[in-house]
């Protein structure tokens, strides 16, 4: 422990905290201490127990064993409301905004300003405006419904909401995973200011760069156990990674093959002047066999819509899509899957990717009935074989494929989604930020998998908010800005500087569209 203030008790102290879900030990014998005026990062691979740890502190789950002390006093919360009352505020990994309520209602949800016993709408609006302004989100209207906001705006609203509770201990559980670069800067500045004001901050992220920049203390978790706590800079990155996954990691990204020679063969997927609503503007793009094409840019510039459009989810898309040179009209997911062998890994795995209450096995076969039930009757043997193969291929950590998929950790859930689609044998794979909230180890597995698929001839279109990932993993990156492709980067031109420059539309091509504040999507 690097703590030196021995006189006063530490702000937060966990001793021997453990939590089991049925047979699963999510946490075991955790001892942890957090001081005021520090940003304390928690690291660990998927399923390491980070979220569970946070939930025990925030009163969402009751620990099965152990004790939590706040400023030396043992506490036992019956729900997040009680924790909030003690100044423990958490921004959870799964957003806790109510989508149908207004931004102001959300921000002031639990303790709205009141006058004469009734909620004071004017005061509430003022508070919301002030909080939003303090994190640089003046573009969010306090009366807008949250469901009209983009994911990155929602995360900012979530942060504003947490700040409104006047926290003493602020916990951010992957709260910045979808933030745009610019927001991240604002949030960094904010967090540092809060630290200087004497708050205790717990910060969970899978982005090593963020932690390097922000944290002063780092704790690493593995398999529900606290491995070590140390000050930033006392360990190398490789050492940290080894602590997290318990083994050596060699190269971060698999090597890229040399660019294929220009061929007369038509591209696998070819978009021409694709437009939709106000969010996609005349997009032209090719994906060749065996190529991984990235989609870059700030969040909410049309990347998500482009993937949905290709999968036939959007109505009123104009322009042409060709697959292997043949025009491929976009009729819907069924058509995309069965006729064109497309696959989409959606944005939100909990609601769009998985049937959470169903078993892992059922989820794996969900897209492959034409394979395992050729005549409409499920072939049990084929089903079992397909499931086993999928679990093996993606190394999904399951004790029993008949358990509900909701019992898996985030990373393993994502693997289930990917495995489900690989089972269909897609020729084009569309990925919407597949590594969001996934640990380095799993990320690496996914990168390698993508590379292997490409080598087998699959075309991959890959949207990510992580620049490093785009650079390391993609052969070529199309950067979107306000629905336009503003740059296509490849080879040496594919670097962080160029990515950021074109994402902000500052490139030599100049402003394609008038500067447009991304607010309502």
């Amino acid at each position: 422990m690097s703590s030196s203030t021995a006189s006063s008790p530490p702000f937060l102290q966990l001793s021997n905290v453990g939590k089991t879900y049925g047979g699963v030990r999510a946490l075991e014998g955790v001892d942890l201490t957090c001081r005021r005026g520090s940003i304390h990062a928690i690291m660990g691979e998927n399923g390491a127990g980070k979220s569970t740890l946070i939930k025990t502190v925030a009163g969402v789950v009751r620990p099965t064993t152990g004790e939590i002390r706040l400023e030396g006093v043992p506490v036992n919360f019956h729900g997040p409301a009680e924790a909030n009352a003690q100044g423990i505020v958490c921004v959870f990994q799964e957003l806790s905004l109510m989508p149908d309520l207004t931004v102001a209602d959300n921000i002031c949800a639990a303790a709205p300003p009141r006058r004469g016993g009734l909620i004071d709408m004017k005061a509430q609006r003022r508070i919301a405006e002030e909080l939003l302004a303090s994190i640089g989100c003046e573009d969010v209207h306090p009366l807008a419904s949250v469901h009209d906001l983009s994911l990155s705006r929602r995360q900012m609203v979530e942060i504003a909401k947490a700040l409104g509770k006047k926290p003493k201990l602020l916990i951010l559980d992957e709260a910045t995973s979808a933030l745009t670069r610019r927001d991240v800067e604002t949030v960094y500045a904010l967090l540092e200011r809060l630290r200087d004001e004497g708050l205790c901050l717990l910060y969970i992220s899978h982005r090593q760069a963020e932690i390097e920049k922000l944290a002063d203390t780092i704790s690493v978790f593995r398999n529900g156990r606290h491995i070590e706590t140390f000050s930033k800079g006392t360990r190398t990155n490789d050492e940290i990674v080894r602590m997290m996954i318990g083994r050596e990691i060699t190269a971060h990204f698999p090597p890229k093959p040399p660019p294929p020679p220009a061929s007369a063969e038509p591209p696998l997927l070819s978009l021409e002047n694709l437009s939709w609503d106000r969010q996609l503007k005349s997009i032209s793009l090719d994906v060749r066999k065996g190529e991984i094409v990235g989609l870059g840019g700030l969040d909410g510039q049309g990347q998500k819509e482009l993937l949905l459009a290709l999968f036939g989810v959007l109505k009123g898309v104009s322009g042409t899509v060709r697959i292997n040179g043949q025009p491929a009209p976009l009729h819907g997911p069924v058509d995309a899957k069965e006729r064109h062998a497309l696959a989409l890994i959606p944005e939100d795995r909990k609601t769009e990717g998985l049937m959470l209450n169903m078993s892992i096995a059922e989820n794996l076969i969900a897209a492959s009935f034409d394979k395992i039930a050729p005549a409409g009757i499920v072939d049990r043997a084929r089903e079992k074989q397909a499931i086993d193969e999928a679990i093996r291929r993606l190394q999904i950590k399951v004790s029993d494929p008949h358990n509900p998929v909701s019992t898996l950790s985030g990373g393993n859930q994502q693997k289930v989604v990917i495995a489900k689609w690989l089972m269909t044998g897609p020729q084009v794979l569309l990925l919407n930020d597949p590594t969001r909230g996934i640990d380095v180890g799993t990320k690496q597995e996914i990168y390698r998998l993508l590379r292997d698929l490409a080598a087998e001839g699959t075309g991959i279109l890959f949207y990510s908010t992580d620049y490093e990932e785009l650079i390391g993993c993609c052969d070529r990156v199309a950067v979107l800005y306000d629905g336009h492709v503003v740059a296509e980067l490849s080879g040496a031109g594919l670097n962080e500087h160029a990515l950021i420059e074109s994402a902000l539309n500052l490139g030599p091509a100049g402003a394609v569209a008038p500067a447009h504040e991304e607010a309502l999507s």
Binding site: V334, L344, T351, M355, S359, A366, A367
Partner: protein, 319 residues
Amino acid sequence: MAFPKAGRLGPDNFPIVVALCCIVLILAGGSVYTVSTNGTFSLLSPSYLLQQLQIGAFLGIVASGAMLVILLGHIDLSVPWTLTAGAMMATAVGGPLAIPAGIATGLAVGLVNGLGVTLLRVPSMIFTLGVNAVMGGLMVAYTGGYAPQTDATPLMRFLASGRILDIPANALLWLVVAIAISSMLRFTAFGRQIYMIGNSEAASYLSGLRIRRIAIATFTLAGGLSGLAGVLLAGYSAKAYQGMGEPYLLPAIAAVVIGGTSILGGRGRYAGTIVGVLLMVLLNSVLSIMQMPEAGRQIIYGVVITAMLLIYSREGARR
């Protein structure tokens, strides 16, 4: 999880066992009554039990349709007048085409339900309510304007109240329906996909399932089962009449839920529905035999359902 491994008391089997115990309790309670009044154990006689099976078969067939729709995450409130319309059309057409006409009527109403729910995206609870009102209106207008024939054909009568080897013919028909539906739910892509859509429509859609077609087919099938029940009921009563469907809506839903199917969809076993139906029918019959006044009957009805569901949910919480 929809398909627990055989041999263990999974969360989907627990309600079935509890409901079976409840059935035993009902029969025991009823027998205490018959012994004290008549000195007989008539509730345990094969003839009484077979008769309950015969009466239960109608509810069983309606509940089969209700279960499919509930598994899909919807509800069908159009059962009363769909059933009646099936019966009235069957008797109006008469002759060898009577039964197909009745079932076809049900299928048609179910198709309309399915189209409304999937294409118009009106919540099923409200759309089927509207369809029920429209069907009621149609039948009133039809009866008033055309004075239709309402006598059941001999085949309908035989299917509803005949016996084969002393077993009620309609119970055998229910058995056929039961086998067909439970194997459909277990072994066919269609059945599995009903569960998936019931669990998450968005995920099913993005998995490339034909969610509309499956939903329409499910509603249509449920409508057809209501039509079939109408045909049989007309055979049982030897005629079709307006109010015949009313007593089947809520008991069917109750039977499905008592059988352990989640009212939210995506989870449940057909065996549960069978047990739920038998429970409802026996409870009704025993209360009628005991000459229980309506007030007490309603209270017992409510308390039994609540108590059983509380037991299920406690069990669910324990896991």
